[in-house]
Structure formats: C-alpha cells, structure tokens
C-alpha cells in the first residue's frame, strides 16, 4: 500500500488516510464499524467482496470532457471492504438506501440458514446472529423449502462442517489456500448449490485447520472437541501463551468452573498475528486431562504412596543436601522463567552444583544465544519479523510447519509477496514431505538425501557453495581442512547434484530473478539434525556457508519447546549461567549426568517437566541411567514414564493455574496469567525450589512471579529490558545492547 495520503469524507467527517486503504478500514478510524461477513484484512481480496453486507454509498470526483471536475454519486452502492480510498471520495454508510440494502442481504443469507441457533456452538458469538439483531429483517417472508444438506459432517479429527449454516463467504477457503497453503478447502458446484468442501472423500488434514473455526462467521465450521461443551456467555477467558512449541502463540484461554474449555488466538502482530496451529489449539486440551497428579508421591518399594508436602519436601531436601555438588538438574524446557531462575539458584548457590542441562540431543554445542557477537556479547535469536524480511531462508533437517508453525506462516507470507526464496534440505521420506503444509511446496530448491546423512549433506552443501562462489576466502583453516577431507559425491548419499547446485546458487545469491542483491540469509537447523550426532560439523559447515553467501547470513538452531529458549538464557546449562555468563568450573552436561547417576558421580537428580525417557535422543541409555539413579525427584503435571521411575514425584501448577513468563524462539519474553486456581494439592515449581532451599538453611525471598521477574531483569543483563512493567501484551525481546554499559 502506497504511503501517499488522500482526503476523504465518511458520514460528513473529513479524514486523511493512506491511498488505497479499504474504506471499511478507514471508517474504523472514526469509530464507524461497517457490518460485514466475508471481509478479513488478512485474507486475499480477489475471492472476497462476495457477501455484499458492507455496501456503502459512494461519490467520487469525475472529470468532465471539458476538464471540469464534479463529485458524482455512483449509481450503485459499493462494497466498502474492497473499495480503495482515493482523493476526494465521499462515503455514506447509514443512508436509508444502505439500511434497506443490509436488510435485504441479511434476508437472503437467512432464507436458507437453519433456525438452530439455540443448539449452535456459535450462538452468542456469531456475526450472523449479531448482525441480524442490529440490521436484519423483523420477520421472514420465505415460505419455500430450505436448502437441506448433511449436518455435523466431520472434516478432520478437529473440525466439523455444517453445510446448511455456510454463508459462502470464502473465508475458510481463502485461509487454506493463501495463508496456510494446503489448499484443502474449496468450493464445489455453483449457484445456490455451491458447497465448501475438501476434495470429495479426502480429509482436512491441514496443520492449521483450527483457524478456520475462528474465521467462520457462522456456526458452519466448529471444533469437534468444543462441540456442545459450553456457551460463550458462560465462559471466562484469560490471556495466556500456548505451551505446545517454542513459537509462543498468544492465546485466549477460555475456562468454566475452574476447568479448561478451549483456546482461541489472541492477536500479537509480532508473533502469531492472529493465528494458531492445531498442535497448539487442540494440544492445549491436556489441561483438561483427568489424570492430573493431585498430591506428592513417594516410592515405597515397587509402588508410590501419597504423601504430604512436608514429608515429600523433607525427603527431597535431604537427598539433594546429601548429594550437594553431586546433585544435578535436567529439563526445564516447559517450566516458566521464574521457576528456572530459582531452580538454578538452588543448584548453583545452595548446592554448589553446576550440573544443569536442558539439552536432549547427543551434542552439546553452544546454541543458546542466536550467536555470540565478536565482543562476546550474546545476540538474541532471529525474530519472526526478520525472518519475514529475509531474502533467502534455508531449512536444514527441519519439518518447518510442524516444528516452527508461525515461522512457517511468516515464510509463506513472504513467499506469496515474492520477496523471499526458500531452500529445503532434508532426509528422504522426512515428515516434511508428507505434510499438507510444507516448505518444499514453495521452495526454489529442494535437496533430499538418504536418511542419517545430515553431516555429509552439510559438507557437500559447503563444497557446492565454495564452487559457486569460486573462492573459499573467509573460511578458517580448520574448516578448509575438514572440507578437504570430504571425498564423497552427492550420489553417495542419494542426493542429486543438480538439486545441490540449484540450492547453492540460491544461497549464494546468483539465481536469476534475484529480488535484492543485498539482504539476509537465515539458515535454520531442525529437530532431525539436532537429534543425531554431528551437530558440531553441521554448524561448522553451514556456518561457513552463511559466511560465504553474498547475503548477510546467520545460522540458528531454533528452540522447539515452549521455554527452551528461556532455559538457554537463564543458565540451565553446565557451562553458562543466566545471561550466558561463563561459569567455572563447568558442570556436567546431560550425557555426563546420565552416565554420572550410573557411576555414582551424580547422587541425586531432579528432572523438571521433561519426559527424559521420551525426549532424550537415546532412550535406552536414559532408561538404564534412571534405573540406576540413587535418588530421582520429578516435577510434572502427570505421571510420565520418567516420573514413574522417580523416588519422589511433586505435582506442579499448570500454565493455566499461575502467572509467569516464557521466552519464545525469538527471545521474546511473554507473560501468561492465571486463569483459575490449581488443585489444592499442587504447587508452583519455584515455590518448591524455595522451600527446598529453606530446608537446607538458605532462604530465598520471593512472594510472586512478578518479584522474581523483577529480580531477573535486575540481575540478568540480557533481560534488563524485560522487567514486569516492560512486557505488556506483546511481550518484549531481550537484547544485549543494554549490557554495553556494564
């Protein structure tokens, strides 16, 4: 949209708006809400303007043959949702003609719409119901047969479709085609027989299907899990953050009578705009599970017995105290920053142990901060905004839409705008290729190699890039040496040389249609690569690729768990404390801790919120270790396989039952607020840590998560800008500039 401004008049009020802004938006500037159904600012205009609800009367300047200009009224009313503002436009939104037009449109929308509002989940928050109340006809003049179509037709595990209620606004079809890119929903047939549908016989398997439920302006697309669970007016809602991945989508957590009911997206332009993914929207259902732990458990022989908190804390304090420097902590990637901060203080300050780690892969390279600047100052991870503005993005061993859903939507947005070129490097048969939403489907280059050859693929990519550039100038001798050692051919790992060459050309920035000579290159290393040995090599090779590219390149190993970034930032690592301050002596990393519990060098282990048995890259090794563990305490919501191996299990409060903050994949610290009270028998993790410390004679004095966040902001340099009062609803990315002074 051009920055040029134009003067228009709406209902007699003169205003200045950007040329080309849709009149429906301009009207909002002066508090005039024009009723509408199909319009949505994030959906394409081409298939829009179909409901005709937003009609307004328009006059615009017209030049006569003799050159004189008159402001002439257009003979027909115009849809304000698709009408670009232009100089001198005069708009009327409430004339008798418009009032009558709206009534007519609503009558048309209602003649075939079932009268089942009383049993419709949308009732109470239904745009059709609301607009009918304000603008609709008093009675119906329709005495014919209503359209009859299958009701409650399941499109997927999550979404049901009631075709009788559909008003054909094309919101869902535009979302699935444009925003999510799976294009699984479309219109079939025509005229009054037109139906929204996936391809006959197929299911709506999009990873983003849940958004269509919120976009639907009637009760045609509904959530299967929420169906008949509640009525909007008896729901309470709270600002929260999705815990299902590191992207940290802002959500509205709806609850009733102290129980989780559903998740809706909460707008945060910087993070999830107004989307969620199905992993989150429906995955949060775990909050309503019935098998929540209600009280501490202590192992007596083969079985657990319920215990009081005093008993349990006494046991835990004794065990940790006895172990002292031989105690260790694992996990924390699902805990709040406040928990992590207190826990690491307990271990470092009270137990004198640096044996903390959150990493579950085989390699323990420093990936915490996005990167370390030359002066050793940490730089925050790449933001979604930076991602969207990048010129080239490379996904290496990543299943983007699944691992980084919001990053995927941003990349798709940029791709549709034509400003980014995408490269997908992954193992053959990787999940990515089975998804309805995949980066590969948009990629300028797709490289596939035999499974298990990530390391070779990375070196081959470097070799190809060196060839494309015709120089290996900025490379370190170390990398040169390693590269020289790479002898195998692309074919040897089942990868096509052409694919590799195309990818290299895109990465280097030589391809034709190159949008900008300058720009940023972002390389993201995904889960498949992280969970296999060889990360050091991959980082070395891809780091060199980024250095060689004509773009300003940067390699990231993005966090994947909700607060994995927080765990990195706040020092759940053996060698770096909060804010990446180096700690001496370095403690044990995950692998060493697990072998340590076996050989006695670790005597007590606390696992927090992570099912190590399921998450550690080498599960058998994890199980062997935990079986041999002298003392294991697990803090979690449920009795996970890991918890089942514990000596003491401590139940903690969920994200819905407390306040706190998470740090998302961009290094953005975001608040979540308590929606309802926790079960009486559970406690917050940071309180548990404080109570253990107290029992060991070192009291910490925090009364609330707010106090802790204030302390974090005061003592952790990179979080200086992220104090409780700085976050607001959008959250705040940490940054190291603040450190400069210190």
């Amino acid at each position: 949209m051009s920055a040029e401004l134009v003067n228009i008049v709406i209902n007699g009020v003169p205003l200045t708006v950007p040329a080309g802004e849709m009149i429906i938006e301009s009207a909002r500037r002066i508090g005039v809400e024009i009723p509408h159904f199909c319009y949505h600012p994030r959906l394409s205009k081409e298939a829009g303007a179909n409901c005709r609800m937003c009609l307004v009367e328009v006059s615009a300047p017209r030049r006569n043959p003799d050159g004189s200009v008159v402001v002439a009224k257009m003979p027909k009313p115009q849809t304000s949702c698709s009408l670009p503002a232009s100089e001198g436009m005069v708009i009327e939104t409430e004339t008798p003609a418009i009032v009558e037009a709206r009534r007519g449109i609503l009558e048309f929308l209602l003649i075939n719409h079932p009268l089942d509002c009383p049993i419709c989940d949308r009732g109470g928050e239904c745009p059709l119901q609301n607009n009918t109340l304000h603008y609709g006809p008093p009675t119906t003049r329709f005495v014919e047969q209503k359209r009859h179509l299958p009701k409650a037709f399941p499109l997927s595990d999550y979404v049901v479709l009631d075709r009788e209620r559909c008003i054909h606004c094309a919101r869902c079809t535009r979302f699935s085609g444009d925003v999510a890119g799976d294009a699984q929903l479309g219109f079939l047939k025509r005229g009054a027989d037109m139906e929204v549908s996936p391809h006959t016989g197929e299911r709506f398997t999009s990873l983003f299907s849940g958004n269509t439920i919120e976009l639907c302006p009637v009760g045609a697309l509904l959530s299967r899990s929420y169906r008949f669970r509640g009525r909007p007016w008896d729901l309470m809602t709270q600002k929260s953050v999705c815990t299902q991945c590191s992207n940290g989508c802002n959500i509205k957590l709806d609850h009733r009578a102290g129980r989780f009911v559903r998740v809706n997206a909460r707008v945060n332009e910087a993070v999830n705009e107004e989307w969620t993914c199905d992993r989150g929207k429906f995955g949060m259902e775990y909050l309503a599970r019935d098998d929540r732990l209600q009280a501490p458990l202590i192992r007596r022989g083969a079985r657990f017995e319920q215990a009081t908190w005093d008993e349990a804390l006494a046991v835990v304090a004794r065990a940790l105290g006895d172990a002292g420097a031989k105690s260790a902590f694992l996990g924390g990637t699902r805990s709040a920053n406040e928990d992590l901060y207190v826990v690491q203080r307990l271990f470092r300050e009270v137990l004198a142990s640096n044996n903390l780690d959150h990493r579950m892969g085989p390699d323990f390279v420093a990936v915490g901060a996005g990167a370390m600047a030359s002066d050793g100052r940490p730089t925050p991870p790449v933001s979604f905004g930076e991602l969207e503005d990048a010129s080239v993005f490379v996904a290496f061993g990543a299943d983007m839409a699944w691992e980084q859903p919001m990053a995927y939507l941003r990349l798709r947005k940029a791709w549709r705008r034509g400003t980014i070129r995408l490269v997908s490097v992954a193992a053959k048969g990787s999940a990515e290729d089975e998804r309805p939403n995949s980066l590969a489907s948009m990629a300028a280059a797709v490289v596939r190699h035999d499974a298990g050859h990530e390391v070779e693929a990375a070196w081959l990519m470097l070799r190809q890039v060196v060839a494309a550039i015709g120089s290996d100038d900025p490379l370190t001798d170390e990398v040169r040496r390693q590269l020289a050692g790479v002898k195998l051919s692309p074919e040897a790992i089942g990868c096509s040389p052409q694919e590799l060459a195309t990818a290299a050309a895109v990465i280097v920035g030589e391809a034709p249609a190159e949008p900008t000579a300058t720009g940023k290159l972002a390389i993201w290393i995904g889960e498949t690569a992280v969970r296999r040995p060889g990360m050091k090599d991959i980082l070395a090779a891809l780091g060199a690729v980024a250095a060689l590219s004509r773009y300003d390149g940067r390699v990231s190993v993005p966090a994947t768990e909700v607060n994995e970034q927080g765990a990195r930032d706040l020092g759940i690592s053996p060698d770096t404390g909060p804010g990446y301050r180096a700690v001496r002596p370095a403690g044990l990393n995950t692998a060493a801790i697990l072998s340590g519990v076996a050989d006695g060098s670790v005597r007590a282990l606390w696992i927090s919120g992570t099912d190590v048995v399921g998450r550690y890259w080498d599960p058998p090794a994890a199980i062997r270790a935990l079986e041999a563990c002298p003392f294991l305490v697990v803090t979690d919501l449920h009795l996970t396989p890991t918890a089942q191996m514990a000596d003491v299990v401590l139940p903690v409060a969920s994200v819905a039952e407390r306040n706190g903050t998470f740090t998302n994949v961009e290094g953005r610290v975001q608040q979540f607020l308590k929606a309802y009270d926790p079960p009486s028998g559970v406690r917050q993790e940071w309180r548990i840590a404080m109570q253990v410390a107290a029992r060991l004679g070192s009291a910490m004095h925090y009364a609330s998560s707010r106090e802790m966040l204030a302390d974090i902001a005061a003592t952790v340099p990179i979080y200086v800008g992220c104090g409780p009062d700085a976050l607001g609803d959008e959250g705040k990315r940490w940054f190291a500039e603040e450190v400069a002074g210190q």
Partner: protein, 206 residues
Amino acid sequence: MAGNAEISGARGPSNFSAEAVAELNEIVSHYPEARAAMLPALWIAQREYGGEITSEAISEVAWRLGRPVVEVEGVATFYTMYHLGKRGRRHLEVCTCLTCAVLGAADTVRALEDRLGIKVGQTTPDGEFSLAEVECLNWCEAGTVVQVGGRYYGNVTPDNVDALIEAVRTAADATATAQADGIVKVHLGKAGASVSPSSQAESFDG
C-alpha cells in the same frame, strides 16, 4: 502469481495416453501458467476416461497441472458439460430455454422420453442414450434445438424425434467422447507450435 510449484506435483493416477499427454503439453504451452489449461485438461480427461470425469480423472488432472485436487474438482463441478456421473454414450440435451420452450420443447421432451423409454436424467439400459434438459443452446432460430455430442440438431418436434434418434445413432460425432475429442482438437494447431510458456512470460516482461 500462484505458480505450479505451489502444490508439489505429487504423481497420481496415470490413464492419459501418450498422445493425450503430448496434447496437454502443447495446450499448456499456449499460456504463461499451466493452471490455465485446466478446462482443456478436463476435456482430455473426459475423453480419456470414456466420457466421464471420475474422481481418478480429477486426481490425474490435478497432479499433471500441479494444482490442488479440490481446485480441480471445484472447476469440474462448476461447468455443466463435464460428466460427473455415467451418461449414455449419446447424451441428448434438449434446450428448454425461452424460445424453445415457447415453441414446444416440453412436448419434444415428452416424445423423446416415450421413444427412448427413459425419463429426463436417465440412461437407457443398453447405455446407448441418456436424456437431459439444458438451458439456452443459442440456436433459437431452429427451436426446439437438441445437442448430441458435438452436434446441434434443429427444429426437433414430437413428429420427427424418430428421425433424430436414427440420425444420432449413426452420427460419428454424436458421442460424448467424440465431442470431448473434437473440443480438445480445436485447441491444437499451428498456433501451438510457435509459442512456449516461457516465451509468453518473458517475451516482453522480464
């Protein structure tokens, strides 16, 4: 612009003959985007799949053009000339729109129902004929007009429906497949040879 790459061309059913594939490729070359060949591709499919657009045919068109399946189904179900169910080899379509209606199309339809022993919307047991009423065929000067395959028959009345049926029985171009083939063929010709998609996209733009 939504390029073909958008939905990766996952392969699917492959019942197009080599000739059909060659025809499709030539037609695709008439446009800057493969998607534009959607209607011709469906005509090819209607011929290759024996006068019917089956779900398989839709999948084949989808992957050959690199388009979402539901999009292809959306197009196939929008236009009335694609046969989404089995029809007779010779599909009689009687215009019952304004002029033809005024000139007695209704009687002609009844007469055809009697002679063929089927009602509108049905197919004869031998699969030879099916009967339908259609909107304006735009040859009103010859009402009542009946279309069979690629051919129009004019001035049809209850008195000459027998003659019509006889003529249709033998007419080579009266079958649904012949019609589809004819429609595919008119897309092809000299023009095709002189243009490739790239030349369309780049000859001026770039």
